[in-house]
C-alpha cells in the first residue's frame, strides 16, 4: 500500500512539474508580458536621466562584417566603438557583440523578434522598417534626440525613417546604385566606343540596345549575357528598368499601386524582348545568378563603389588565371521622356528594439550607443564600404572620385520600394512572383501588370 502510495505520489509530482513548466513556458513566451508595455510607454526621452542613468547595465548589439577595425578584423571596429562608449558611460558594464552573417542575419533578427528576444541595437535595411513597426518592437529614436541631432541627418534620409512624425531608426549609410559595364568584354566585341564615358555618363535605352542586341556572346564554350533579370527571392534590380522607362510602383503617398501604367508595360515588354533574344539572362526559381564581378555579364547594377573599391572587388572576384577586366560606372539608361536616370538607394540604419524586462535606463543607454555609432565622426567609416555617410557633419568623404560623382547624380531622383505598412509585403510576396508569369509566357505584359496591380491594390486596402 505504502509502495503504491509512493508511486502515485511520484507520478503526480512529475506530472505537476511538467504542467507547471509548460504553463511557465507559455507565460514567458506570451506577447502580452507587462515588460513590453512598460518599456514602450516610458520611452519618453530625457525623463530617465539623473539617478537611474547611473545604474549599471549591459547591452546586446548585433552587427555585420561591414568594415574592419584597427585590428584588421570585421568585429574589430564595433568592439573598439563599444570600448570607447563604455569609457564615456561607465554605467554600461558590458556590450555583448554578436556578428551576423550577411545572408542570414536579417532572418536571425526576424526570428529573435518573433521569439520576443531581439538585440538592443542592430543594423537593418530601412526598407524593412515597416515590418518591425507593425510588430511594435522599435523604440522611437526621436524621443531621445534633440532637433539639432535629427537635423544633422540629410533630410531625405531622416524622412525615410520617419513614421507618424517620429524617427524610428538612425540612418548610418546610404548606398546608391549605379550601372557597371565590363569595358574589357565590350572592347573584345568592338562595342566599347558605344559606352557613354564622357561628361555625366548618361545615355538612353536606345543606345544601350545597340550594345545589348549583340548578346549572347559565346567564347571558349561559355555564354555571356548583357544583363540578367533576377526574380528570385528579394531581388529588385529589374525594377530599375521600370523606373527608367518612367513607371512607378506607387502614386504619391503610396496609396495606389500603379506599375501597370503604359510606361510599366513598355518596360516589361523591353525586358521580355531582351530575354527572348538571349541578350538578358533570366534568373528565376532555382537558377543560380550570374556574377558580373567574375566576368559573366557585360552590365550589372550594383552599389556605387569608389574606383579603388571597384579594383579591389575585381581583384578578389576574378577567377584565377583570368586577366582582371576594366569596369566602369555609368548612369542607368533612360527610356523615352525620362530626363534624369532614376536610382534606388539602399539606406541602412540602426534600430533600438524594445526589451521585455528592460528599464528606462537600459533603453536610454541602448539609444545613446546607436547615436554614438552614427555621430558625424563615426559615420565617416562607411567610406570603407564605398557608400555614403548620412550625416551632414561627416562632410564629403570621397573627394573627386568619378564613381561617387555618378552616384551623386543618380541619387537626385531616388526611388524606393514604398513606405506603407503593406508595401513591404507587396514587394516580398507579389512583385517577383507575378512578373514570373510574364517571363514564363503565362501572361502578356499588360495582363501580368494588371493582375499584379489588382492584387497589390487589394493588399493596400487591407
Amino acid at each position: 500500500m505504502i509502495k503504491r502510495m509512493n508511486m502515485k505520489t511520484i507520478l503526480i509530482s512529475i506530472i505537476m512539474v511538467v504542467l507547471i513548466s509548460a504553463t511557465a513556458c507559455g507565460k514567458s513566451a506570451s506577447p502580452t508580458a507587462s515588460g513590453n508595455k512598460e518599456t514602450g510607454n516610458t520611452a519618453t526621452g530625457d525623463t530617465a536621466t539623473g539617478e537611474k542613468a547611473a545604474e549599471p547595465t549591459d547591452l546586446t548589439v548585433w552587427w555585420y562584417a561591414f568594415w574592419n577595425g584597427k585590428d584588421g578584423t570585421p568585429e574589430g571596429w564595433i568592439r573598439e566603438k563599444a570600448d570607447e562608449f563604455m569609457a564615456l558611460h561607465p554605467n554600461v558594464k558590458k556590450i555583448n557583440i554578436e556578428m551576423l552573417p550577411g545572408d542570414t542575419g536579417p532572418q536571425k533578427i526576424d526570428t529573435s523578434i518573433a521569439a520576443g528576444s531581439p538585440p538592443d541595437v542592430t543594423y537593418i535595411d530601412l526598407a524593412f522598417l515597416p515590418k518591425y513597426l507593425k510588430q511594435k518592437v522599435v523604440i522611437p529614436a526621436s524621443d531621445y534626440m534633440t532637433q539639432e541631432e535629427i537635423d544633422d541627418f540629410f533630410k531625405s534620409l531622416s524622412d525615410y525613417a520617419t513614421y507618424d512624425g517620429k524617427l524610428y531608426a538612425l540612418p548610418i549609410l546610404i548606398a546608391p546604385r549605379v550601372l557597371y559595364a565590363n569595358k574589357t568584354m565590350l572592347e573584345e566585341m568592338g562595342l566599347a566606343d558605344k559606352l557613354p564615358l564622357e561628361g555625366d555618363r548618361s545615355w538612353t535605352i536606345e543606345q544601350f540596345k545597340e550594345i545589348a542586341q549583340k548578346f549572347p556572346y559565346k567564347k571558349g564554350g561559355k555564354t555571356y549575357y548583357a544583363e540578367q533579370i533576377n526574380t528570385t527571392a528579394l531581388n529588385w534590380t529589374h525594377l530599375f528598368w521600370f523606373w527608367n522607362f518612367g513607371a512607378d510602383l506607387y502614386n504619391k503617398g503610396d496609396t495606389q499601386f500603379i506599375l501597370n501604367s503604359p510606361e510599366g508595360v513598355k518596360a516589361l515588354d523591353f525586358m521580355l524582348e531582351m530575354v527572348d533574344a538571349g541578350s538578358f539572362r533570366l534568373v528565376s526559381g532555382g537558377a543560380k545568378p550570374s556574377d558580373f564581378w567574375a566576368g559573366d555579364l557585360a552590365f550589372s547594377l550594383g552599389l556605387a563603389l569608389t574606383e579603388d573599391k571597384v579594383k579591389e572587388t575585381l581583384k578578389e572576384k576574378t577567377p584565377e588565371g583570368q586577366p582582371i577586366p576594366e569596369v566602369v560606372a555609368i548612369q542607368f539608361p533612360r527610356g523615352p521622356g525620362v530626363d534624369i536616370a532614376k536610382s534606388y538607394s539602399g539606406i541602412g540604419g540602426l534600430t533600438v528594439f524594445k526589451q521585455k524586462k528592460a528599464d528606462e535606463n537600459h533603453t536610454k543607454m541602448a539609444m545613446e550607443f546607436a547615436k554614438f555609432l552614427t555621430n558625424g565622426e563615426n559615420n565617416k567609416i562607411v567610406k570603407e564600404l564605398g557608400v555614403f555617410p548620412t550625416k551632414k557633419s561627416s562632410g564629403d568623404v570621397f573627394g573627386g572620385d568619378v564613381n561617387a560623382k555618378i552616384a551623386r547624380i543618380m541619387m537626385e531622383d531616388g526611388k524606393d520600394l514604398g513606405k506603407g505598412e503593406q508595401t513591404y509585403k507587396i514587394f516580398e510576396k507579389l512583385i517577383n512572383a507575378e512578373l514570373d508569369s510574364a517571363f514564363s509566357k503565362k501572361k502578356t505584359s499588360q495582363q501580368t501588370l494588371d493582375d499584379l496591380a489588382k492584387k497589390a491594390n487589394d493588399m493596400l486596402k487591407q
Binding site: 513548466s21 533570366l282 526559381g285 532555382g286 516580398e428 514564363s440
Partner: protein, 304 residues
Amino acid sequence: MNHTSNLQTRIKRHYRNRKMQSHLWGYFFLLPQMIVILLFALYPILQGLSLSFFEYSVAGSTWVGAQNFIAMLKDDVFWIALRNTTIYTILIVPGGLVVALILSWIIFPLSPKTQSFFKAAYYLPSVLAGVVLALVWKWILDPDIGLLNYLLSFIHLGPYPWLSHPDTALVSLAMMSILGGQGASIIIILANMGAIPESLYESARIDGGNPWHLFRFITIPMLKPTILYLLVIGVISSYQVFDTIYIMTGGGPYYSTTTIAYLIYSSAFDEFEFGRASATATVLFIIIFILSMIQFYFFREDKK
C-alpha cells in the same frame, strides 16, 4: 441481491487495482516520452491553434476570431499551395513507392553482402541533411552548369530550365525526391520481403509461375501492409515538404513550387503574419490528422 452487487463491485475494483498496480511500472517508463510529447508536440500544437485566432504582435496580441482563417481562404496563394502540395504528393508517393519496390525486388535475391552494400548506398542520402541534398540537386538541375543538362546535351537535348520555369519546377523537385529519397522505403520493403515464406514461391514455381507472376501474385499481396504503411507515411511527410523548396526554388517561379509548409514559413517570417501562418498550420494539421485517421482505419481493416 444488494449484497451480491456490492461484492461484485468490490471484486471488480480489486482486480482493476491489481491490474493498475502491475501496469504502473509500464506507465512510469512511458513517462519520459510523454513529457517530451507534452512539451514539444502537444504544447506547441495547442499554442499554434490558439495563435491562429489572434493577430500576433510581440507587443501584444489581439483576438480576431476566425479572421485569419477567412484571410487565408481568400488568398489565392493558399489554394495554389494546396494544389501544389497535393500534386507533389501524388507524384512522389506512388512514384517513389514504385521505384522502391522495383529496386528492392532487384536487390532482394542478391547475396547478403551485396544486399548490405546496396542498402547502405540507398540509405545514405537519408542520413544527410535535406539541405545538403537540396544543394547537390540544385547543382544537378542548374540550367547552365548542371549535370543533367550536360548529360542531355550528348543526345542533343536541352538545356532545360528545370527549376526556373513554372511548368517544370515542381516536377523537377518531385523527380529529385523520387530518385534520391527512397532509402528508408527500400530498407523496410527488404526487411518485409525477407519475412515472406519461401514455400509460397516454391509452390508457385511448381505451378509454372514466372518471376513476374511471383512478384505480382505473391510479393505484392504479402507486402500489402508495408505498402500501405509507406503510402500513408509518404503522404504525411510530403504534405510537410519545406526544406527542399526553401533551398531550391524559394516557392517560385510564379508560385509553382509554393507548398503549404513553405507558405506557413513565408507568412510568418517574410510577412510577420504569425496569426495567418498559424491558421494555415492548423489547416495542415487537420489535413494530416485526417490522413492519419485513414491510416488507422486501413490498419484496422488489415487486422480483421
